[in-house]
């Protein structure tokens, strides 16, 4: 990895402004709905929040309002899948995972049915509603299930591509996105292949592996360190399961240290998935930017990210730590 890093390369990913990932989901759902009549959508009284009104308006006969009954929604989705439909079951991440874990386990994953669970408002950035709604355990819950694919896109554009990709894929999928407007910076040229991570920034000193809203912050950290002569590889690990083992092993081998970044509990999330791969293949120092075994609280998303140490500065700090441990 001796290549010279230029400003042009890093500038490839500049923000086109802030946009919500859930908007990308709703728009892509409509597009896929137009192409594939088997796609049906279910929502538990959060149609507007999930941006599913577009689909509902154009395909009222393929939209199923389930009311505030998430367990029923997941099992109904499984039933629809037994008739050949491709159901998209949607709610806030807290209600679409932990609340209905047993339904997902038995009726979806064990039964290997083609159900897509698409969840918004994940993590601290749900904001003011507070800890009851800020699920930080969903990635862990979903990646613990055999047969489940777990996808966490990083911006509006990638959420669109991810939504299309999971609806092409046959089998259970959990797609996680969020509430706030966040930088939209990825491009269609990046493509989207489930299980294949994307290197957004080349580097040889350390690698940051991030998912969701932390990908942009990782990119910011890499750009800051460029000026200090430290080159940071940034990997957008949009699929947590199946994890891209090859990219992780290569990063460990090429850069000798890894920092993970996610809006999720440190236990059971992306960090542990990466650590698992490294521990079994190529042990290197790993630092984790994540919520450290605590619940969130009410507040503005940015204030919460600051308090719970999920900012660009926190990534920088963990990079320094990783670099120290490496040497």
């Amino acid at each position: 990895m001796g290549e010279k890093i230029t400003i042009e390369q890093t500038a490839k990913y500049s923000s086109r402004g802030n946009k919500a990932t859930r908007t990308g989901f709703g728009e892509a759902l409509l597009e896929v709905g137009r192409q594939n009549p088997s796609v049906v959508a279910l929502c538990a009284d959060l149609t507007g929040s999930l941006n599913m009104n577009l689909f509902r308006k154009e395909f009222p006969e393929r939209f199923i309002q389930t009311g505030i009954a998430e367990a029923n929604m997941i099992s109904m989705s499984a039933g629809l899948a037994t008739t050949g439909k491709i159901p998209v079951a949607s709610s806030f991440a807290v209600f679409a995972t932990g609340r209905v874990f047993d339904q997902i386990r038995q009726s979806v994953c064990y039964s290997n049915l083609n159900v897509k669970i698409c969840a918004s408002h994940a993590g601290l950035t749900l904001g003011e509603d507070g800890a009851t709604h800020q699920i930080l355990e969903d990635i862990g819950l979903m990646r613990s299930l055999p047969r489940m694919t777990v996808v966490v896109p990083c911006d509006y554009s990638e959420t669109k591509r991810a939504t299309k990709a999971i609806l092409e894929h046959v089998g259970p999928v959990y797609l996680r996105f969020g509430r706030p407007n966040v930088p939209d910076f990825t491009s269609d040229e990046d493509g989207f292949e489930i299980g294949k991570s994307i290197e957004l920034h080349p580097g040889k000193d350390v690698t940051v592996i991030a998912c969701g809203i932390m990908v942009w912050k990782a990119l910011e950290a890499a750009r800051i360190l460029e000026k200090e002569g430290v080159t940071v590889r940034v990997i957008n690990m949009h699929t947590i399961k199946p994890i891209d083992t090859l990219a992780i092993v290569r990063a460990a081998n090429d850069t000798g240290a890894i920092v993970t970044a996610e809006e999720h509990q440190m236990y059971t999330g992306l960090g542990e998935a990466v650590a698992n791969v490294c521990a079994r293949n190529i042990p290197v120092p790993i630092e984790m930017v994540a919520v450290e075994d605590t619940f969130g609280e009410s507040g503005k998303p940015d204030d919460l990210l600051k308090k719970y140490k999920l900012t660009t500065e926190d990534i920088l700090e963990k990079i320094y730590l990783a670099l120290r441990r490496k040497s």
Binding site: A69, S75, A78, G79, T82, Q103, Q106, S107, S111
Partner: protein, 303 residues
Amino acid sequence: MGKHLKPYPQEKRGKHLQLSTIDELKDMARQVRRDVIRMLAKSNSGHTGGSLGMADIFTALYFRILQHHPHQFRQGADHDMLFLSNGHIAPVWYSVLARSGYFSLDELNYLREVDSYLQGHPTCESGLPGIHIASGSLGQGLSVAVGAALGLRMDGKKGEVFCLMGDGECQEGQIWEAAMSAAHYQLGNLIGIVDYNNQQIDGEVSDVMDVEPFADKWRAFGWDVLTCDGNDIEHFIDTLEYLRKDKSRTKPVVVLATTVMGKGVPFFEGTMPDKSNWHGKAPSKEDEVKALEILGITVFGDF
């Protein structure tokens, strides 16, 4: 055996068997009970009571009522779909599936064994014909059936969806979420059948957690309610044929089928003197010999 073989080998399927007379059906129900006792005694584990209690209903459904073809599972354009929500009575289901032609009778030898298609609770992951989805964790099946009924209706299919449940299972809140949604979506193509035996593992349903007034609850949730004797094949068939005659139903229907847990073998029936029941116990070898003697042999023969 060999559940890794997918799809289930065609040559191992049996002949599609349908029965026309009540006498034949009664004989088959007796054979199904023999199968249940023999399977459970052999595996020395499993749920005897509910499997015996539902033998008449399963026999009536698979050999007379259902529009289905065992060799066109999942392909039948207008076939009925059946979901067993209280999956623990799988042995009676396995028996009728095998005897109506879905898979080889030989599979019945391997209930609950490693690598067997016949898992302790029903599963579809092995591709065993006849089973659409796993069940065992209670309360999910009616929701699944609601989804399937919506799916069939969207495609304009004529098949109807059957969902079998236990009365104790109706203590699960999700059953009532599903009931509410079935009425909301006016699922006239959905038929619920409840094994109304007032038994669950800890004792009588009325003692453990009363579900009464049961029929009123279903009516209040927007369902039509029919009652019948679930151990009287003729009565059950009459009830089902009566309700299926009406093709313009716009409400889901539930049949509360009164049954006796353990029916057919007197020493397994109902509540035992010590207040226990045969919900989750398997017959011993001695029980098996005695039970088979009471049931007697049939023209269909043991597996």
